[in-house]
Structures are given as structure tokens and as C-alpha cells.
Symmetry: D2
Subunit: 132 residues, 4 copies
């Protein structure tokens, strides 16, 4: 499956008193990266919601921190998708700075119908993007 | 008008690489303080919304930073209300640590009807609290 | 080992456009909860840093989201420690609202010397707290 | 003085339960915009700190909210500088979406020496950029 690379700079307000990016920003970076993933595949999230009438729900979050990022750093996030079954899928992330691995992580998701909020199978349009 | 004092500790994730509370957290502290103000006056915000069918909108924000806060600091926010006219009112804040003034600020607000989103006069129940 | 219970209310600025607490706030709640854990055991984090001359580093973060929290909700976080070996330990968290499990998670940590930034064994004063 | 235009998309985690960008994100957007301003003028902030040995301190923040931003919106911030005297200066911001004014604001600043933390005059290199 195609990997999408998202580029980003560290904002000052994302640092903490240890002088590094606070760990709680990585889930936010991941969210940006998977939004970018959908966008680059011509399925920005608002289209997902409006056309497919679903919400993508986040069920699990995992991050491993190997090195840190600092204010002024430019980094990239490599994102890919891993489909578990017809209901559940993962986004997987690698955060890199100058080709050095800073952090890895994943988020587990499912789809729910926008109205009923009930679990539903991953729509085939979304599956196609993910399998591309 | 009665002043309400809200007490709070600085969280580590609110600090930045200068080792102090990042300035963008003060608007968040103010939001907590005015929520506490309404609550202490027996009108927590969800009651305001559900009973009075209004939303309180934030129109302006102003903060002056005199001294800084650091991780582990305990501080208090003195909050009071200032009514401009039947539509507009201000919350005014003083942030103090050990009786030293750290910061002052205000937020300007109006009320809108929850359904139509149109400007409406400050409901008299809310006015009473504010004038108490 | 003693479990410590930390109580908290959801702030409005922690919600997102789905009307619930944004998932990236849970790592922040966890940080508050482990700070409270250390404090309740008479070892607030600034004492850890100043007396023991160490920094506690976060290596891993894991969160499972079962249910959600909304603005106005009061919740509690049950925190306990799990020691892996003389270097590594876990904080484990359960987020509950009205005795309903909302989320579980853990963070993995080690200690580094404040000056050299090198990995060091968990200081015995800290171990004692954790084993209590 | 030259105006610099910074472009940005709203991130989902910046929205709140009213479905709009939470007001506390505007100071963060402003920080990004003035960082971009310095960068576009070949004086990124880390150069300011390292070469000129100063820190730029934020003394005041003011924001007026006219309209709101939502998830998925692309907006721009027009930033310019206003010098009050040899010590104090302002960054002034206009937030626009599709040429509609969303918000205006300013931040007031001074320079302090990195070591002594004492107020110092605005370095002439910085003044030159600002006057360009």
C-alpha cells in the first residue's frame, strides 16, 4: 500500500519545559498525517463524512518515543494503512527527522454511521483507497 | 458585584521551552474561571444552555502578562462581571500567585439564541447573577 | 500497590467538533494523574527532580478508548505503578465516569540523570513509593 | 512596512464542541504567523536568539472575533509590525478566509537579553527587518 509523506515544522507552543515537543502532540501530528493521507487520495475527511455518511472513530492509540523533536525542527510523518478485517483498520506512522526515526505509532479505527452512530463495515470507496 | 476566586495548579503540558506557562493557556484558564463563576452562582453553563436556550459567545479577548507562571505553581483567578448594556458584558480576570499579580485580562461576550444563532438580550436570570 | 484516584472535570476547550473530549487530551489527563500520584505519595515531581537529580522520561504511550467524555462531565482516573525491572516502570490508568469505564491506558518510563541525560536505575526512594 | 501572508488549514483537534475553532487557538496561529514573518525576512527566531542573544517577550495579547473558522477551512493571516519606540513593538494580524475578515488581533513585545533577562532596546538588525 502506498505510503504518504506529510511534512511539518514544530511550533513553539508545542514544546514543554524540558525544551522538547510535549508527547501529547504526537497524537495531534498523527491526526494531521492521516487527514493528509485521505486528502492526497482525493478523499478529504469532510467528503468521507458527507458522501459516505460515516464517521471514522478512533479506538486505540499507541506511540513509542525514541528521540525527541525541538522548536524549529522540520520532520516528516510516513503514514500507511493496515486493514484488519471488514470493520477495523489501522493507520501506522513513522516520524522522521533528517532520516532519523524519532517516533513510531499507530491508531486503530472503525466506521460508524453518522446518524445511528452504529458500527458499520468500511465503505468500499474507502477500502479502495486503503488498498491502493 | 461578587468576585469569585478559582484556584488551579499549572500542569506540565502547559509549559513551553522558555520554562514558563505558554501565553495561549491564559485564555483557557479564563474559560475555566468563568465556568467556575457560573457554577458557584448555581448556573453552570450547561444549565444556561438548556434552560435559557442560549449560547454565550466570545467576541473579544485581552490579556496583559506581567509575570510568569511555572510548572508546579498554584495560582488563583479572581473573576468578576461587568455589564456594558443589555446585550454585551465582560468577564474580568486577575491571575495571582502568592498575592502577586501575574496577569490581567478580560473577555467580551454576548448571548445568541441556540436555534437561530441570533443576538439576543442577556436573559434576566443571568443578569441577576451578574448583578448579585 | 496503592491505587491513587484523581478527580477532574472536563474543560470546554478539551472538546472537539464531534462534541466529545478530543482523544489527544487523555495523555494530558494521564500526566496530571501521575503527577497527583507522586504528590499524594509525598514526592511531587519537582522534589523528584531536585532531590533525586533525575528526570522521568516517557518512552511509550497507549490508550484504549471505550466510551467518550463530554463537556461538564466529572471523571476519575485510577492510577497505579507497575515495575518492570530496575530501569523501567509503567503507570497504568483507568478513566471512569459514574463507575463506567471510559478508557484505559498506560505510559512506560525510565529515569535519566538530570545532568548527563543518561539512563539510570530507578532511585530507591521512588521505588519505595511505587512498591508501597 | 511589508505585510507577510501566512497560509494555514484548520486541524480537527483545534475545533471545539460548538463545531468551530476554539478561540484559544488564535494566539497560537498568531505565534505561527509571526514566526513565519521572521523566517520570510531571513531572520528565523532561533537565529534571533543565537545571533542577537535576545529573547522576544510577549507582553500583551488582543483578539477580536468577528466570524468563525471550521474544520477543513483554509485561511490566511496577514502580519505586519508596528514599532512603538526603541523598546516596544507590535505584531498586528488579520485572519481571512476567502477574503472575509474572520478575526483581527495584535501582540505587544519587547526584547530581553538572553542571559540577564533584562529589557534591552530592539536590536538594529531586527529593527531593519521591521522597517523594511
Amino acid at each position: 500500500m502506498k505510503e504518504i509523506v506529510y511534512k511539518r515544522k514544530v511550533n513553539f507552543y508545542e514544546t514543554d519545559a524540558q525544551g522538547i515537543v510535549h508527547h501529547s502532540n504526537y497524537p495531534r501530528y498523527f491526526e494531521e498525517a492521516r487527514g493528509y493521507f485521505l486528502e492526497k487520495n482525493n478523499y478529504p475527511y469532510h467528503i468521507v463524512r458527507d458522501e459516505l455518511n460515516i464517521d471514522i472513530v478512533l479506538l486505540e492509540l499507541s506511540v513509542k518515543y525514541r528521540k525527541f523533536l525541538q522548536f524549529g525542527d522540520t520532520f516528516e510523518i510516513k503514514t500507511k494503512v493496515n486493514i484488519e478485517n471488514k470493520y477495523y483498520f489501522f493507520f501506522e506512522y513513522e516520524v522522521l527527522k533528517d532520516n532519523t526515526l524519532i517516533s513510531t505509532g499507530y491508531t486503530k479505527h472503525c466506521c460508524i454511521k453518522k446518524d445511528s452512530k452504529k458500527l458499520t463495515v468500511i465503505p468500499k470507496q474507502l477500502l479502495e483507497i486503503m488498498k491502493r
